[in-house]
Amino acid sequence: MADKPTFSQEISNLMYAAHGSPLNECIQCGTCSGSCPAVEFMDQTPRRLIGMINADLKEDVIDTNTYWVCASCYQCTVRCPSRIDIAGAMYAVKRYSMWNKTYADDLVGPVFSETFMKTIARSGRSYEPILAPTYIFGFGAKEFFQEVQGATKMMLKGRIPVLPPRIKRLKNFQNMIKRIIPMGDEE
């Protein structure tokens, strides 16, 4: 029987279309952490996270908020001397945690992504008012008020859609999705 893949192999496998990424060639130089504009909001730096993945510290990796704080700006990716797609690896850990439902409870990112995807599968296009409840109720009173105030100003300037958009060939579009991911019919 084949050996079970290690955690670091599983993460590499989740970057299939991007043709993997040589995570194990990391030299721990820290260029990624030094380049990251969001690093001070992460509980482990990108350099440490790559080290932890390579050490197969699965639970510790999944427990960090690091990969959800990544804004996908690719500053680390373009500067990595070992040509590791670090932002791509953050996506791979996100996918791993979404499929295994192992992310921390208080994170908004995964719930937002899931709702976003469901909106697309239903209509083919994104629609901000459906997405808002996924994050807005997690806000404190002040942020909630700020967000509502901001949305009202946008609305007055005609910048918020009133009706959800929808593509024309929706049935074909949904059949296309089912050819990749089998899923039940939605009402």
């Binding site: 279309a17 996908s72 990112g109 100003k153 910048r159 579009f173 999705i177």
Partner: protein, 294 residues
């Protein structure tokens, strides 16, 4: 006349309608035709890729396949849409297995993608397909002495696509000079605006926005020019919240580069969607807002 398959993306339908209007107006004057992609779907921004890589690429591939059917190259005004389209197109061309898998799914909508088309960001059409020299010839209302911060953001230049300068690109500055304005030396021009972190991690996003606004202000910017709807909204619509959070007093207008270009080309402000801003542009733009225009 050059013609492209134009993928506006979801933001341009409403939130960034001014970007849509000004893109169509400016390209018209410059002799470029943008034919909207027929029945396009959402490209997934960053979120499809959180869930499934193959599905994400398939949804992007559908739009590319529609462009291929129209026999045109693909152009997107949004940086995230552009980045997704660019890489899906590249993977389709390089990886026969992936292409087979995705084409099987596309058949459900009678589509096929070979990956032979070119994918451009809208700013690339101005900077390289038309070029600053041609633009200069059509400028009738030069934005003299206007100090514009060229804000590239992330995904136009990153990840690296074709050997371009990712640390200090210059094409945005050249476009600003073509408008008759002054591009300021903006150190944070490729630093991230926070993207969708604004929704998922507000403290991080507000901090990132503050850094950018501070750097633009310190560098003497009258206005920040963007080439992405998410950058525009983050930098403009959240200035009030940044001010409340950090005790700052930012009020820097943030416009799409196509709106500024449109003014320089003598297009009426209303046609460019100027007036739907949350931070008033009047203090810095009033002398350039001419009504008798093309």
């Amino acid at each position: 006349m050059k013609k492209y398959a134009y993928f506006p993306g979801c933001s341009l339908e409403k939130m960034a309608l001014s970007y849509h209007k000004s893109s169509l107006e400016t390209t018209r004057v410059l002799g470029v035709e943008l034919e909207e992609l027929e029945d396009w779907n959402c490209c997934g921004a960053t979120t499809y890729f959180h869930l499934d890589e193959i599905l994400a690429n398939t949804l992007v591939a559908r739009n590319l396949a529609i462009a291929e059917k129209q026999g045109l190259d693909f152009v997107a005004p949004c940086s995230a849409c552009y980045k997704n389209a660019y890489f899906t197109n590249t993977y389709m061309k390089e990886d026969a297995d992936l292409a087979e898998h995705i084409n099987y799914a596309l058949e459900a909508d009678d589509l096929q993608l070979s990956g032979d088309l070119n994918v451009h960001h809208l700013i690339d059409v101005f900077a390289n397909e038309v070029g600053p020299e041609e633009i200069k010839k059509k400028v009738t209302n030069p934005l003299k002495e206007l100090r514009i911060a060229p804000y590239y953001g992330c995904q136009i230049v990153r990840p690296r696509k074709n050997g371009e300068n990712v640390e200090d690109p210059q094409f945005f500055e050249e476009l600003i000079r073509a408008m008759g304005a002054n591009p300021i030396d903006f150190a944070y021009k490729t630093r991230c605006c926070g993207g969708s972190l604004l929704l998922t991690n507000r403290p991080a996003a507000l901090d990132m926005i503050r850094h950018l606004l501070q750097n633009a202000q310190n560098s003497g910017a009258d206005v920040i020019a963007t080439a992405c709807p998410l950058c525009q909204v983050n930098l403009e619509a959240y200035q009030t919240q940044v001010n409340e959070e950090f005790g700052t007093d930012f009020s820097t207008p943030v416009l799409y580069f196509t709106q500024l270009m449109g003014l320089a080309l003598g297009i009426a402000p209303k046609k460019l969607g100027i007036g739907s801003e949350l931070v008033s542009t009047l203090p810095v733009l009033s002398q350039f807002l001419k009504k008798e225009a093309r």
